[in-house]
């Protein structure tokens, strides 16, 4: 049983160490990190209080008195809450099935689960609208049964909620599945020996114990739903539904000197929504208790028996609609010569791929740039993010909470706002001094780290929360501290969660679009920028070809990873 895990690491020592040289550095580092994250936000907030160059509340008074504002806020809250719930339900259910039951092909499923996260959301949306459109597959199927089936209108609040929820459930899944696996079997068995049915056991034992993962995943999904622009734009504009992210964009592109101030003011409102989400998340996490430390237990705990095929069928249908349909629709578009022509043997060709790979030099460069950017961001994230997560869990003081909030906000801001505030912050971090970061590739590194570090922090927090303090105490009495403790004890125990975080950071950075499209310079084009460019020029076929290529590369990466993993396992042998 987790003994003594409530204790903080030597509280007085922590205090004393404030004054030691080594910890001075640590604290300076934290302050620097805060500064990096807070500078853009600070600039943004200042802007929201600026009108005609004066400090004033004017923006707030006008905006808050406008009924439209409240409509937008209401829509936002509805959309974000609804889609987060959808993500939670799908993510947690899938995680449970994969972690505990004997369904087959779990590894292959992992790929399909991640698909919605790597397929650009405008493609997903398009696929969905086509699927459910007037002459889409859905209506064709719907005309089969004798009774009438209502057409589903995606251009609605419900549609936005639905598509957002389905796009972001991987976040919940990825952060939950390993936590589920780490819950000691005996805790479940104790419940069942007490007569609780499986469902009760899940509700009363697994759910509360997996809270760190579920809450972290839900929180990330919440932030992702909040900042998402593509889906509410695509589905909301036709239906005249505004949420904060689209509304802010309208302000940004609006004219006049007050455009930015208005946008900043709305961003502050959005920030407040994000803060409320953070607070709710804390409420849940406060209740969560640390488990006895175990390694992931991958043996199935529940045998579905005769119902197995049914469950598997449902899962694959889900994958089909969330991953395969968009993938196919994207793939098909990428193979035709011109948008809108029918997909027939005559019309397919590899022309578009040839264009991207041979004719256009940009695409290849962008692949390289993005891979490098994403790799470095993920690597830096692992170190900084895990360090922050560790401090946050082991020393939950004001400073570490504050750090967590500052790191979370940039992920919640819509990309456009985030990019603009990066410009505010980094062109002349100190007025009158331009360090040349803006305009070089450095700005993208900083922007990506600022924006995506929270993914790593949450992944690592989830992992650290699974490690009982006694693990570290045992290392300490055995004489290991600092680096050797991390290398030999903590990292091996943290690795699944840390890698999940890094994986999310890597994928997000790899396909990032909005921020890069405002910050790139001509020598540092990223995948997102190139896609954005094609799309704006009306070259949808190139866009889809490029996107397909990237998704294929990602899938290939997965396969290589799995193959080498199983090769490694076989070679090393499961511990004797």
């Amino acid at each position: 049983m987790a003994n003594h895990n409530h204790r903080e690491v030597m509280p007085n020592q922590a205090l004393r160490s404030l004054f030691s040289y080594k910890n001075m550095i640590k604290i300076l580092a934290i302050l620097a990190i805060c500064a990096i994250f807070l500078l853009p936000i600070y600039r943004l907030i200042m802007l929201s209080f600026t009108s005609d160059g004066n400090l004033t509340f004017l923006n707030y008074t006008t905006i808050l008195q406008d009924a439209a504002t409240w409509q937008v806020v209401q829509n936002t809250v509805l959309v974000v809450a609804g889609s987060t719930v959808v993500s939670l339900i799908i993510g947690v259910s899938l995680a449970w099935l994969v972690a505990y039951t004997d369904i087959r092909a779990k590894r292959v499923m992992q790929i399909f689960i991640v698909l919605p996260f790597v397929i650009p959301s405008y493609i997903t949306t398009l696929a969905w609208t086509q699927f459910l459109g007037t002459d889409g597959l859905y209506m064709k199927l719907a005309s089969l049964p004798p009774f009438s089936v209502e057409p589903i209108d995606l251009y609605s609040l419900a549609g936005i909620i639905f598509v957002l929820g389905f796009s972001h459930y991987p976040l919940v899944y990825l952060l939950t599945v390993s936590v589920f696996r780490k819950i000691p079997r005996e805790l479940e068995l104790a419940s069942r020996a007490s007569g609780a049915k499986r469902s009760t056991t899940f509700r009363k034992v697994n759910m509360p114990l997996a809270l760190p993962g579920i809450v972290s995943g839900g929180f990330l999904a919440f932030l992702a739903n909040l900042d998402n622009f593509g889906i509410p734009a695509f589905l909301g504009i036709p239906a005249q539904i505004n949420v904060l992210s689209t509304y802010i964009y309208q302000q940004v592109v609006g004219f006049g000197p007050s455009a930015f101030s208005r946008a900043a003011t709305f961003s502050v409102l959005l920030g407040i929504v994000a803060l409320i989400g953070t607070a709710i998340q804390w409420l849940f996490l406060r209740k969560s208790k640390r488990l006895e430390t175990t390694i992931e237990d991958k043996q199935p705990r529940y045998f579905l028996g005769k119902r197995k095929w049914l469950v598997e069928l449902i899962i694959w249908v889900l994958f089909f609609v969330t991953g395969v349909v968009p993938l196919i629709s994207m793939g098909m578009t990428s193979l035709i010569t011109a948008y809108g022509v029918d997909f027939t043997l005559q019309t397919i060709s590899l022309e578009n791929y040839q264009f991207i790979l041979n004719t256009s030099s940009k695409a290849k460069e962008a692949l390289g740039n993005s891979a490098m950017l994403a790799g470095v961001t993920a690597a830096v994230g692992i170190v900084i993010g895990t360090a922050i997560a560790y401090l946050r869990v082991r020393k939950p003081n004001f400073l570490s909470k504050f750090t967590e909030v500052s790191i979370g906000l940039p992920y919640a801001l819509p990309g456009t706002v985030m990019a603009l505030s990066m410009i505010f912050a980094w062109m002349e971090p100190v007025p009158g001094w331009n360090p040349g970061i803006y305009g070089s590739i450095m700005i993208l590194f900083i922007a990506y780290i600022t924006r995506f570090l929270i993914l790593q922090v949450r992944g690592s927090i989830t992992a650290v929360m699974q490690v009982d303090l006694s693990m570290e105490e045992a290392a300490h009495v055995s004489g290991a501290k600092g680096w050797s403790k991390w290398r030999k004890i903590l990292l091996p125990l943290l690795i699944p969660g840390v890698l999940t975080g890094a994986f999310l950071v890597f994928l997000s950075a790899l396909t990032e679009l909005t921020v890069s499209s405002l910050l790139w310079s001509s020598n540092s084009e990223t995948i997102g920028v190139v896609i954005f460019g094609f799309e704006q020029a009306g070259y949808t076929t190139y866009t889809t070809a490029f996107s397909s290529l990237i998704v294929l590369l990602i899938i290939l990466g997965f396969i290589i990873l799995y193959v080498s993993q199983s090769y490694w396992n076989r070679k090393v042998g499961k511990r004797t």
Partner: protein, 317 residues
Amino acid sequence: GCGQAQEGNASSVSGELNFYTSQPDADAEKLISAFNEHYPDVNVTVYRSGTEEVISKVQAEKQAGEVQADVLLVADSVTFESLKKQEMLLEYKSDEAEQIPESFVDPDGMYTGTKVMSTALVVNSEKVSEMPTSWTALTDADSSGQVVMPSPLYSGAAAYNLGVLTRNDEFGWKFYENVKANEPMITQGNGDVLKAVANGEKSYGMVVDFIVARAEADGSPVKLVYPDEGVPVITEPIGIMQKTDNQPAAKAFVDFVLSQEGQELAAEIGYTPIREGVSAPKGLKTIEEMSVLEADINELYQNRELDKEQFNQLFGE
């Protein structure tokens, strides 16, 4: 570089030039490499994105300290008008501008149109057999549920069109009210309009001409129609930023874009050139062939927010 110093002052033009544009990537690239043939010592750095993004970036840079752009080329003159009002532009009257219709050149020399992009009708050629000839295709009761157009709230070009059409006696707000009655689909940008029509989701769209011509040439089932009433046009003006730190290069760049060679290049890429005497690419009308719907730029600039607001009210209920 090919070191072809045919112009006397070419060698004195050199250094860095930041070019911010909303032109598609490939087009910008071609433009620059042609420019570099004449001015090999100028290193042009391009920032390319949607007009809205480009302007946001410029504005943000201004807020943050200093605008990095030297030369700006974005969709419409109203946008430039606003920059002009904010005194962000440098006055430069290029000699080349004399060949360009007066109405497309800012009288104060702050910006000059570089090409002509009209907003016309796009029609799905598979769903519609008889091509319409009038904007009424969007307002006919038959077209109910089959109309798509970009949102002026998101697209600068669409906002321009809104301003022009509502100030035109033949159309006015009545036109938009009638469109509204057909329950149109409103998209974020022109690209989405083309897609909706190309894949048959909608039959008629209001969209900028050149992307339709391209898609048509590629084989998409779409057709470009210039309605008889005329079309609003945007001119993708070019201008030099007030704070540019390389005036000679910036001016040389503007000259090149407006020159015969520059305009022929634009036509070759697929745009209607703005310079008289240069022919339009296949599928597009030249400026002389189309009837242009116009409105006073200053008035448009002054009323843009109001127009959008009114649009929002009309369509938002």
